[in-house]
């Protein structure tokens, strides 16, 4: 039964769209006016971190440099996320238009799509689209902007924007120290905007829908809608575009199989919401740390009562032990300790009190890791362990 409280929208995959027209209209505005529109729309990064897109563009716009760069982050690697792939398959021209718009605004002539290694099969089609699009861009919109595809090699951490930049520069895919931020010193030191695939699409859609209207969708602080990759114990796994601000309970009513005990919001590096908190939790950016309103890159994994949350956590930790870049101590060793720790408790080699050590460690990881990867492992770990303590021990 359709659920009214889940507001479905259809911006991303809406085919009633002509990139030439939208860009033509947008390009009539000055660069600052474009930024103003994006800021007004309240658009935030759809990769999960939620930085204000307009502000990011503004920073890059203000830099004085001979060359600037736009990068579309298509290294979609978060477990349970598969929406960027669909965007690139279904509506690639919108992504390219978003990159061109950003390029126009910040003064970049080069754009790159950092394509996840596993998505290489998309490359031929994408290249065709790029050729078609840049022809229009050059001849009809009179904008000298070129886009190239850069293939990733499969490391999860390269989705982190500075690791992504290192990887493109031929260095090890390791996150950099920030500051400097990419908008100041990005690819080969040039001011660079790195945006998620979906963010770029929304950036152009703001000009189709109108900033005011976009802002009124969703909730305060989390404007607009978002693509969700729904998976797990659901009869309706797939990609759905929903307004921000939905309650997890409404989401579960719509998508669950009637027996959901937890929803993992934001993938392996996200937060686990247990059944008792479904009602209290909304999906949006604000209140990130309080846990009652969760940001997400769009992954929604539903677990029903047949699932062992110990196994879920074990699986996530195994993933992180392998995918940490290994450079910083809390992430490299912390992930190993969390994994070994829960194994030891489960086998009775460590007492249940050892869980407290591990929770404290997960907090240290959140506080001290160099990048978002290590920081978010702590969130994921503590939200699962605190809500499913018995399953960890017995």
């Amino acid at each position: 039964m359709p659920n009214d409280s889940l507001k479905r929208v259809d911006f991303i995959f809406d085919k009633d769209y002509n990139c030439k027209e939208v860009l033509y209209d947008a390009f009539k505005l000055t660069r600052d006016e474009i930024i103003e529109e994006i800021i007004k729309s309240g658009l935030r990064g759809r990769g999960g971190a939620g930085f204000y897109t307009g502000v990011k563009w503004k920073y890059a716009r203000e830099e004085l440099a001979d060359e600037k760069v736009v990068i579309c982050n298509a290294d979609e690697g978060e477990p349970g996320t598969f929406k960027d792939r669909a965007i690139l398959e279904e509506v690639p021209s919108k992504v390219l238009a978003g990159m061109a718009l950003c390029g126009k605004v910040i003064g970049a002539k080069k754009g790159y799509i950092y394509l996840r290694g596993e998505y290489n099969y998309l490359k031929p089609k994408l290249e065709q689209e790029i050729n078609k699009f840049t022809d229009i861009l050059h001849s009809e919109l009179n904008f000298d902007f070129n886009i190239k595809i850069f293939s990733g090699a499969g490391a999860y951490v390269c989705g982190e924007e500075t690791a992504l930049l290192n990887s493109m520069e031929g260095l090890r895919g390791e996150p950099r120290n920030k500051p400097p931020y990419p908008t100041h010193s990005g690819l080969f030191g040039k001011p660079t905007v790195v945006n998620n695939v979906e963010t770029l699409v929304y950036a152009v859609m703001v000009f189709k829908i109108g900033a005011e209207k976009f802002k009124n969708i969703g909730i305060q602080g989390s404007s607009g809608s978002k693509l969700f990759s729904v998976s797990g114990d659901t009869p309706k796994s797939g990609i759905y575009e929903l307004e921000f601000g939905m309650k997890v309970s409404d989401f579960v009513n719509e998508f669950g199989d009637g027996d959901a005990k937890a929803v993992q919001v934001g993938g392996a590096s996200g937060f686990c919401v247990p059944r008792k908190a479904f009602d209290k939790t909304t999906i949006g950016y604000q209140g990130k740390l309080k846990g009652n309103s969760l940001p997400t890159g769009g992954s929604m994994m539903i677990f029903n009562s047949s699932r062992s949350m110990y196994n879920v956590l074990h699986n996530y930790l195994e993933f992180f032990v392998e995918e940490s870049c290994g450079q910083c101590v809390p992430c490299r060793i912390g992930t190993q300790q969390l994994l070994k720790g829960i194994e030891a408790i489960k086998k009775g080699k460590k007492s249940s009190e050892y869980l407290e050590n591990l929770l404290a460690l997960s907090e240290t990881m959140r506080l001290t890791s160099k990048c978002g990867l290590g920081q978010s492992v702590g969130n994921s770990f503590s939200s699962i362990v605190e809500n499913f303590k018995e399953e960890m021990i017995y």
């Binding site: 740390l289 992180f320 870049c325 910083c328 101590v329 809390p330 070994k340 720790g341 001290t368 920081q375």
Partner: protein, 602 residues
């Protein structure tokens, strides 16, 4: 444009650290700002010689209003921030991080060569870390790489701070060490995980003195030396390099920059070496040979109009020699054919010295006390056997000598001074300054200028100041005037020289040569930053502040010497009179000069 830069440089930011206000230049890290206030935040991956890594996270601090703690080494001070360095939150995080490192570490401290001089051990003890807090994630069955003559790698003690990697790439431009793998498999290794001996490594040992733990150490040979000393059939001689005497004291209770020459000689005699001789004697000899080699090259150029390789480059530093063999194999003709002082000494110990003393050279064990790791490799070069035996049996580092003195149970602080034994124990101040970057150049100029003009080099108190200091590449220029008749071909010639230390700077010099644009006639290159006083065999830590103090001690030692020029040393005159006959002569050529080999880049 210049003014604009100046303004940026002078832009100040004001911040509060632990309740104290401070203004620092924009761009200063929180770590350095704190240091200016006398607050020492602990670090592990940080080293003043190297670029910032920010990967150990030990130096985290709490900035009011920020969501996470921040690494103070990697975070520039921002106007108005309020930093706390010692809150319970910070302390707990720090303790956790150190405990994590301990859980990954081979904690057999009792048998570790770096015990009591290990940054992880110190922090772990200071923070009272519970060894049992976390489960050990130490990798089992990790092999120690002992393939190199000079450097030993024990991955089980590595904390993956990448100081060695940054040293090898940033300071030395060698890149023998690198990072491989990710996650729990992330490790420091060599190209294709090959043994260190099979990759391009110069053996300089800079990785060792930048390593915070016992993961990188020199190959140690002192047990063999103890055995030789205990063998009544053996005549064990040691010669000590100039840099050892100004650094050894650091290991034995003296402040940095203390000269302990006399005490060191006493200690070595007490240990039982049959003779304690001075590498400086061979350094003076190097000046004679190298100086005349330079003059010979100049004569061939200016008189015989031959195509001579100039600049001529010094060959005292075995790390540098191996570097050029790998990196610029087509330019080896620029290297002086002179052996290093260590190898000259070795060749003479088993010929001239044996002869003079009436000792069977087969019973001589020749040991070199060096500030250097590469000297171990050099001693074992197959061509270094011109005496009919292996010329140098073992190269010991300053650290190994320090440990031998500790093992002997002496009270080093209260030892009397003694003089070096004779023969091959006398030397000049020119030889002492070999230990500092620019020293070989200065020593050479003191002699060569005088040979060519008959006058003393016109620098006050013989201190050729342009050759001194820690600048990466130094230049000097002298116009030769009023020569003696023999060197008339040099009349009016401008002798441009350069000095480089650290292989990064060596590369600058070499790239000029490769491009055919080198303006120099003579170049001194030392593999290690600061020259030998900053060598890979020197006491740990070594940084610019310490290098400066050791250098000061070197120049003070020079000024205190009666003889300041190599050609005036009586024993040098004697060896030419009685044994070698003349510089570049037949015997010299056989014993004191060598050839180099082309090596691969990969």
């Amino acid at each position: 444009m210049k003014d604009k830069n100046k303004n940026i440089a002078e832009e100040m930011v004001k911040l509060t650290i632990d309740g104290m206000e401070i203004s620092v230049k924009k761009g200063t890290s929180i770590l350095h700002a704190a240091k200016q206030l006398g607050i020492y935040i602990p670090t592990l991956c940080h080293h003043e010689d190297l670029c910032v890594a920010g990967n150990c996270r030990v130096c985290v601090v709490d900035v009011e209003g920020w969501n996470t703690l921040t690494a103070s080494c990697a975070t520039p001070a921002i106007d108005g921030i309020n930093v706390k360095t010692l809150t319970p939150k910070v302390r707990k995080a720090r303790k956790d991080i150190i405990a994590l490192l301990v859980s990954e570490h081979n904690t057999q401290c009792t048998t570790c060569y770096r015990s009591t001089n290990c940054e992880l051990q110190t922090l772990s003890s200071e923070y009272n870390i519970d060894n049992e807090r976390y489960i050990s994630v130490l990798k089992k069955d990790v092999e120690i790489d002992k393939s190199s003559w000079a450097v030993e790698i024990d991955p089980s003690k590595c904390i993956r701070c990448q100081r060695c990697v940054r040293t090898c790439s940033q300071l030395q431009h060698v890149n023998a060490l690198t990072v491989a793998g990710k996650g729990k498999e992330m490790r420091i290794t060599t190209f294709m995980d090959l043994p260190l001996n099979d990759v391009v490594c110069t053996n300089c040992g800079q990785c060792i003195i930048h390593c915070p733990t016992g993961a990188l150490t020199e190959r140690r040979y002192f047990d063999d030396i103890w055995n030789a000393i205990g063998d009544p059939e053996k005549h064990v001689v040691i010669n000590t390099a100039p840099s050892v005497r100004v650094a050894l004291g650091e290991m034995l209770g003296f402040p940095v920059g203390t000269r302990v020459t006399g005490k060191m000689v006493t200690a070595l005699k007490k240990i039982g070496f049959d003779a304690v001789l001075d590498t400086d004697f061979a350094a003076d000899l190097t000046i004679m040979e190298e100086g005349f080699e330079l003059l010979h090259r100049l004569k061939r150029k200016f008189v015989d109009f031959e195509d001579v390789a100039l600049p001529m480059i010094t060959s005292c530093s075995p790390g540098w020699v191996k570097y050029i063999e790998h990196m610029y194999p087509n330019h080896l003709m620029h290297l002086s054919s002179c052996k290093s002082p260590q190898q000259m000494f070795g060749a003479l110990a088993k010929t001239y010295y044996a002869d003079k003393k009436g000792i069977d050279p087969a019973t001589i064990v020749s040991v070199a006390g060096m500030p250097c790791a590469a000297k171990k490799f050099e001693a074992n070069r197959p061509e270094m056997n011109d005496s009919g035996f292996q010329d140098v049996d073992a190269g010991l580092t300053t650290r190994e000598i320090g440990y031998m003195i500790k093992q002997s149970g002496m009270d080093f602080l209260s030892l009397e001074d003694s003089e070096y034994d004779s023969i091959m124990g006398e030397s000049s101040g020119a030889a002492v300054i070999f230990g500092a970057t620019g020293g070989v150049m200065e020593a050479a100029l003191r002699t060569v200028y005088e040979v060519v003009t008959g006058r003393e080099i016109p620098f006050k108190n013989l201190a050729i100041t342009p050759a001194r200091g820690l600048e990466g590449v130094k230049e000097a220029s002298i116009i030769i005037e009023n020569t003696t008749p023999e060197y008339k071909f040099l009349e009016g010639v401008e002798v441009k020289v350069a000095i480089a230390h650290g292989l990064k700077n060596a590369r600058t010099i070499m790239e000029q040569i490769v491009a055919g644009k080198s303006p120099y006639i003579f170049v001194e290159i030392m593999a290690c930053p600061g020259g030998c006083i900053g060598g890979g065999g020197q006491p740990i830590p070594t940084n610019d502040e310490i290098r400066r103090k050791r250098i000061e001690a070197i120049y003070a030692e020079d000024e205190g010497m009666k003889i300041r020029k190599s050609h005036e040393v009586e024993e040098i005159k004697q060896i030419y009179r009685e044994f070698l006959k003349e510089p570049l002569g037949h015997k010299s050529h056989h014993l004191l000069h060598t050839k180099y080999r082309k090596r691969n880049r990969y």
